[in-house]
């Protein structure tokens, strides 16, 4: 019976450059904190070994601060860390991994050579480190030339997709039947950020801390238990992620529809731990669009960790009330009608005119409020 933790894709040091500073710092810190969470899980499950299936770092040279932070956190944990270079942090000669192999604490092993490593008396790790960002060859072919003593568990550790999703030639592609072909008891894979079990003996653990809107995943790690050589591994996924990344698309026909969506969102998740990409579309009156935008920016935007808001497809169709709200006559009314006419035409000017009209609407509202306050 062997028991270990399978994790991957920590991508420590990911910059999140498009975000404001405070969101970025929070997300980066959450990735480092995942190490502590995994250590805690391993202690809690009495699994002394943690196998990290690649992409420990976001780049092959993430900088000393990130490396030190990671090593310190790993060093103080009462478990052993088996780190594999992935495509993000491929083991470039003389680079990061060479230093890790030299400087890492005793309980951290950098698996930079494709050679079997004894994990325990009963288990051997067969690592398939990536030495380049992309290779057109199967990195796990090396497993075939790695005989082990009978009665020892063979645990493969590799990083790469088992299936190509793009039209271009797949890189680092791993055959789906690698475990069977190489007589592995278990093949621990990294690359895909969501937990994914492939057959009986192969699985992607997913990332412990989600980092993208692309797929909705729950951050976590796998506890792997194998009763004996040849036995089917028992996997259990444990959630560890702090933030959820959500991609929402709302279509609105009025403020009431907006209220419904907001309420649903709030009910379903902890907004403070949500990173939200929101695309709003529909056609509203000018007043409604202004109101929706104001609430998105000044309410929802402040509630979530970060809001990536896209209102390009939320169109304003000014009503007679909107125009009347601006003025019945006079300069503002003339300008509003002119902008409205421009907004109805084609081209980028139309969008700009629409924005200008909205801006005028807002400024008018403010002026009216100011006048009201004075009165």
């Amino acid at each position: 019976m062997i028991r270990f933790i399978h994790t991957a894709d920590w991508q420590l040091g990911k910059p999140f450059g498009r975000m404001p500073d405070e969101a970025r710092t929070a997300l980066q810190d959450a990735r480092l904190d995942a190490i502590d969470a995994i250590a805690k899980l391993s202690a809690g499950k009495d699994a002394r070994d943690v196998l990290v299936a690649g992409d420990v770092f976001d780049t092959f040279e993430p900088g000393e601060r990130v490396v030190r932070q990671a090593l310190t956190r790993m060093g103080r944990a009462p478990c052993r860390w088996w780190l594999l270079p992935g495509n993000h942090d491929y083991a470039r000669a003389e680079g990061l991994w060479a230093r890790l192999a030299r400087d890492a604490p005793a309980n951290v092993r950098a698996l930079v050579a494709a050679e079997p490593v004894v994990m325990s008396d009963h288990a051997v790790i067969l690592p398939a480190p990536l030495l380049y960002r992309r290779t057109s060859e199967d990195p796990t072919t090396v497993f075939e030339a790695m005989p082990t003593a009978p009665g020892v568990h063979r645990v493969g550790l590799a990083h790469g997709p088992i299936q190509s999703f793009s039209s271009t030639a797949a890189m680092n592609l791993i055959p789906v039947d690698r475990a069977q072909r190489s007589g592995l008891d278990y093949l621990a894979l990294g690359d895909w950020h969501g937990f994914n079990r492939i057959g009986e003996r192969t699985a992607y653990s997913g990332t412990p801390e989600p980092d993208d809107f692309d797929r909705e995943v729950t951050g976590g790690a796998l506890l792997v238990e194998i009763a004996g050589p040849g036995a089917v591994p028992v996997l259990s996924h444990h959630s560890l992620g702090r933030f959820t990344w959500r991609h929402e698309a709302w279509t609105l026909d009025g403020v009431s529809a907006f209220d419904v969506q907001i309420a649903a969102l709030r009910a379903g998740a902890d907004l403070a731990r949500m990173v939200l990409r929101l695309k709003v579309s529909g056609i509203l009156s000018l007043a409604d669009r202004v109101a929706v935008r104001e609430r998105l920016e000044s309410e929802l935007g402040l509630e979530v960790r970060w809001l990536d808001l896209d209102l390009k497809d939320l169109f304003a169709r000014p009503t007679e009330d909107d125009l009347g709200g601006i003025d019945a006559h006079g300069v503002l009314r003339v300008a509003a009608e002119r902008l409205l006419a421009m907004a109805k035409s084609e081209g980028p000017e139309a969008q700009r005119a629409s924005a200008a009209l909205e801006r005028m609407f807002v400024e008018n509202l403010r002026a009216a409020r100011a006048a009201g306050a004075e009165a």
Partner: protein, 883 residues
Amino acid sequence: MKIRSLALENFRRFRAPVRIEGLSDGLNLISEPNETGKSTILEAMRAALFERHGSAGAFIKSLRPWGDETAPTVELCFELDGTAWTVAKRFLQKPQVTLTGPGGQVFTSDAAEEKLQVLLGFERSSNRGADDESRGILGLLWVEQGAALSLGAPGRIARETIQSVLAGEVGAVTGGKRAFAVTAAVETALADFRTAKSGQATGKLLAAQQRLSLAQIQHTEAQASMAHFAGVLDRLALARAELDRTERLAADPVQAEDVKTWTRDLEVAKAAEGRRREAEARLGEAQSRRQQVEARATARLALALQAETAAKASAEAAAHLVEFEPVLSAAVKAEGDRAEDLKAARAALEAADQTAATALAAERAASRTRHLVAAFARLDAAERLAKDIDGLREDLSSSTVTASILQTLQDLSGQVGQTQAALEAGAPTLDVTLRPGAAGKARFNGAAATEGRHLIVAPATLDIADVGAFRVSPASSVAAQAAHRRATEDLGAALDRAGVASLDAARAAADQRRAAADRLKELEIRLETLCAADTGLDLEAGLDALRGALAGVDRPPTPPQAAGGPPDISGDAEGAAVRARMTERAAAEARDAAGEALKAAELRGQTLSAASRDLKVRQDQLAAELASARTAQPDADLDAELLSARQAEARAQGEVEEMKATALAFSVEELERKLANAGTRRRNIEAERVRLAGEIGGLAEAARSEGERGPAADLEIAREAEDSAASDLALITEQAEVLTLLRSVLADASREATRQYLGPVTQRVAPYIGRLLPGATLELSDAMAAGSVSRSGRLEPAEDLSRGTQEQLAVLTRIAFADLLLEKGRPVSLVLDDALVYSDDGRLETMTDILSEVAGRMQVIILTCRKRAFLHLEANRVSLVEV
């Protein structure tokens, strides 16, 4: 609104209190000369209403009289809708304000200021003081000196007031305050993106642009760092690979085996080489011996030959010596003969020289005698001449009448003549005719009278015998007679001194004296000639020299004169001597030549003799040498030794060839070269290993330190930062574009609206314009200033018009605004401070006519320094009065 009175104190140039009173409803004219404070009046009116009493800004301070620390005070009484108001303000020291209204209501402090603002429609002024923006309508209608020219647009409050008034009239709203607020908000928002004037990026837009360019720079830098880092890693990998290769080379077994073989071969080759050298040495020895024997044989042969040659030469020399004997004898004889010849020639020369010397002495004696004879003859002649000269000199010294004395006598005689003539000029004449026989009967001045005419120059007496005496006295003057007498006496005295009786005698004596002098000169020249210098006798010129030379010398007899001169004895003797000398010289030369020939012959003889002797000695020597050699080793023995030596050499040569063939099997040079190359290679490999180890150390350290900085992460961050900055900039740029579009649309709409509602103002001003510029119409600008004038279809911008026209238009548009506001019941008052200074007389009259009409509707106050220009005007004339 009507201004009634104004009082000020400690205000600008007015320290003492002054007042203006009695301002009427219609047209008021305050004409004061320059520098009397006319403009201060308008300043004070403004201060009373618009400047806050508590203000202590620079402008308020400037209201104080120059150099004073006093408190400017002003009091203004005005009427509004028939009710009287008085505002009194004191600035700077204990500032205060009091507004007194109808029914005795009194406002003070800020309440007073606020009440004024409400009453007259203006706003609280800023700390810097009131300006046209805040003064409202009155700011527009109270035109200060020089401001009319600016054609300025109304300030904001004035514009708003006019707009609000017009809104009702044209039935179109401008949007009022809200439109202004929105426009201003848009302007403010845009100002955060682009500058108002040039539209250049500023604020957020500029910051976004700067962020992007900074991000781009950082991205580029991160790329460079990354590239450098990648380069370091690549070089490190290369260096490690190179070190591996070098290590393998160092441990190459084939190379080691080669070196071993080469070393062994080299030893073998070196031994063979040693044997070859020994054989060569033996060969050298044999060669040397053979050469020695050969040399000896050759020497023996040469010696024999030389001995033979020497014997032959010796014999020849002896023969030559014998042949030379007679030649030497002949030379000895010739030399003796020539010496004899020379002796004879020298004797002949001596004789000839003797003869020539004798002849020359004789000739010299003859020549002296000739000279002496001539000298004595000259002395004789000279002595004679000297005697004559002495006689002549004596004559000359006794002759008294010199040329100058004669001249004096002639002059005196002339004077006698002249005085005589003067005496005779008026003298009576006495013509005497004597009858025959009467002679003696008549006596004139005691002498017998003679016939003819007698001049009577002195009293004369004519005695006629028997008749009596007639005394005649001439009428001529006593002076003339005296002059004549003096002249006659002078002449006489002079003649006496000269020792002559008459002038003629004097003339003769003078001539004689001159002739004697001429003769003397001639004789003296002749004497000089005779006593000339004589080189033949070494004689100097002069008679005394001649006398001295000849004294004590016997006079020689006069020699006989040979025909054709004396004979040339000495010339002949000389010729003979020369010929003798020539002969002697020729003989001497001949003797010398014979001597030389003899010397040469003797030398030749000696040479021949010596040569013969030497050759004989050599012959003997060689013969002895050869004999000695043959005794030591007979010729046959020598030949045998030579043969033996030659055979030994041939043997040694054979041995050497043999050894060379053996040594050729190995090349020592090549083996040494190969071994040296192997050594160099080994050293180079070692050096390369050391170098690579160093390079790897450096690169590894660089890889570590650069890697620790996280170049890949930095690059990722920089790339994302640049993307982010670029999309930010795009967003912000779009915001700026949106605002720009909004501003432009608002501005267009505002301009059109303005044009629409300014119609009523244009209509009101039209009749005035028609009177001032017939056929022209005025177009107001968007900002309500006079914009342009249209005349006969041509549009002229107002600022291009003449200054006069500009100020007139400015006043007329203000009248139009005032009319408009008046109709709407707003408080208006028109104050013009020298607003028409550029207007010509005709225009000024038209303008004053218009102002007179306007004054029928509202109060008009004209402040001017040109009293005469407004003399024609019917107006209430008011003056400043000191209180």
